[in-house]
């Protein structure tokens, strides 16, 4: 029996009721979010459940939305059920002042470096991570470069303002 997005959604609502929310299906991939305290519970349920079995962590990264106060950082998990070939996207939002999220390293060994990379880029503090240090950037760096407050171009240039990139 193949697993459909609708079945995954129903199963999650059954288990967590109102706590998983904002279901969407952009380009056919089921996307939903949960409060950040729930992250491990949801991941564990997705991993263990006999029907769902999302046991492969394809990708983990963060996105910065400076315009959403209290929910500036989104940590995005892409999970894959290889038996039924279903992918889902699971998001957890956190405030930027205290970006603490439980680590998924106990569930997925692959999460180790992915979380280090996410920490390196966005400063998400993965609570319980065995070795949360920078991985790609220099250890001495004292800021998180992928955050939107660090624009790529030099700010004194007038020929490349945001207007030219469609966000004036």
């Amino acid at each position: 029996m193949s697993l459909t997005n609708e079945a995954v959604k129903q199963r999650l609502i059954e288990k967590f009721e109102g706590q998983v929310a904002n279901f969407d299906e952009p380009y056919g991939m089921l996307t939903f979010e949960a409060p950040k305290e729930m992250v491990l519970k949801v991941l564990q349920f997705l991993y263990d459940d006999n029907e769902l079995k999302f046991q492969f962590l394809t990708d983990l990264q963060a996105v910065h939305y400076p315009s959403q106060p209290g929910r500036e950082l989104a940590v995005v998990y892409h999970l894959h059920n290889m038996t039924n070939n279903v992918r889902i996207r699971f998001k957890v939002f956190t405030g930027i002042l205290q970006p603490d999220i439980f680590t998924a390293t106990n569930l997925f060994a692959a999460a180790n470096w992915m979380e280090r990379e996410t920490y390196d880029y966005y400063g998400v503090n993965f609570v319980g991570h065995p070795n949360l240090v920078r991985i790609l950037n220099a250890d001495e760096m004292d800021y998180f470069p992928m955050r939107k407050e660090y624009p790529l171009e030099e700010q004194t240039r007038v020929d490349k303002d945001d207007e030219m990139f469609g966000r004036g």
């Binding site: 952009p26 380009y27 991939m29 996307t31 046991q55 492969f56 962590l57 394809t58 990708d59 990264q61 996105v63 910065h64 995005v76 892409h78 290889m82 070939n85 992918r87 996207r89 997925f108 060994a109 692959a110 180790n112 470096w113 992915m114 990379e117 880029y121 920078r134 991985i135 790609l136 950037n137 470069p145 992928m146 624009p151 790529l152 171009e153 030219m164 990139f165 469609g166 966000r167």
Partner: protein, 407 residues
Amino acid sequence: MVDQHIKLPEGSIEKQTTTLNLGPTHPATHGVFQNILELDGERIVSAKQTVGYIHRAFEKIAERRPLYQITPLTDRLNYCSSPINNMGWHITCEKLLGISLPKRVDYLRVIIMELARISDHLICNSIVGVDTGAYTGFLYVMQYRELIYEIYEEVCGSRLTTNIGRIGGFERNFTNTAFQKLEKFLKEYPDVLREFENLFSRNRIFMERTMGVGPISAERALNYGFTGPNLRAAGVDYDVRIHTPYSSYQDFEFTVPVGTTGDCYDRYLVRDQEMWQSLHIIEQAYKKVQEFKGAEAEVFHADVPEYYLPEKKDVYTKMEALIWHFKIIMGEIDIPPGELYNSVEGGNGELGFYLISDGGRTPYRLHFRRPCFVYYQAFEELVKGSMLSDAVIVLSSLNLIAGEMDG
């Protein structure tokens, strides 16, 4: 007591093990990354990897680049098979923009992608040979990688960092020379590969150096996020080309070779068999391409003027082409908002693109899922307890590409 001039780290005299820096510029690492190995005699007690020496912040750069300017960034990920990265990026964009391609373009892409896969596997397998002490195979197959590069050159003008194709298709139609070179490749390569197999597959030294070295079970491999040939060598038949077909892979007959033990020898064998399968796919694709006759045989891109850079001669003679050319080059095309994860089967695993667009002219966020960044974490588990010389073979048989790892 005299002042000690050299300050040794605490406890370094008392400890019974040797610390060895393998890399970052050691020739055996085939790329700029460091392994700090703790050795007891020649046995590896622990291994600590340092990556990031050639980190170029592609994800940050991509946030200020229009879509077509991101293709050259993808070249520099896994540069042994850049066409796959380029195509993967184009396919992601096309999916976001809702562009569907003519079949001929899909088949031409398949030809290029499979050639790239062959050249990637060829490098990897022959480098495993070099690291076990057999240089001949490496030198011998290089001329056929050269032939693949000549085909790229004929199609797009460059060889290593190809920047091949456009959103919507190719920049020009394949020339007759390109097809002739492809035919030459299809005719001569099987013998070369057979010769290469004769050198390695049943070579006793090679087998003893690679069998049982750096094994991983299927469960551990999945947990570590292995994909591609390394996962298949552990016995999991996961292949993006089969699971989520892109670029009309569903039209082709091919099998997915799998191993059992996930050791270096199995990884070698899986790559070797995949080259045969790729060859088989190219033959089918070439046959399908030849079936297009008349006007259909001239199709090499989809009709998407907003994203497909017009031909230069049209730019000089046609008003619309001039306008589109200007708008595309200046990056003045708005991308529709959307959120998308798309992946292709890269040379060494699942290469994913996570693209978020907020309706601006550049991606809001673009993340590359770089397969070898994910699976290199398992290195310590693979080499713990084995000999130093095994670590070198494990490194090369994992097909680690520093450019991809560091993003």
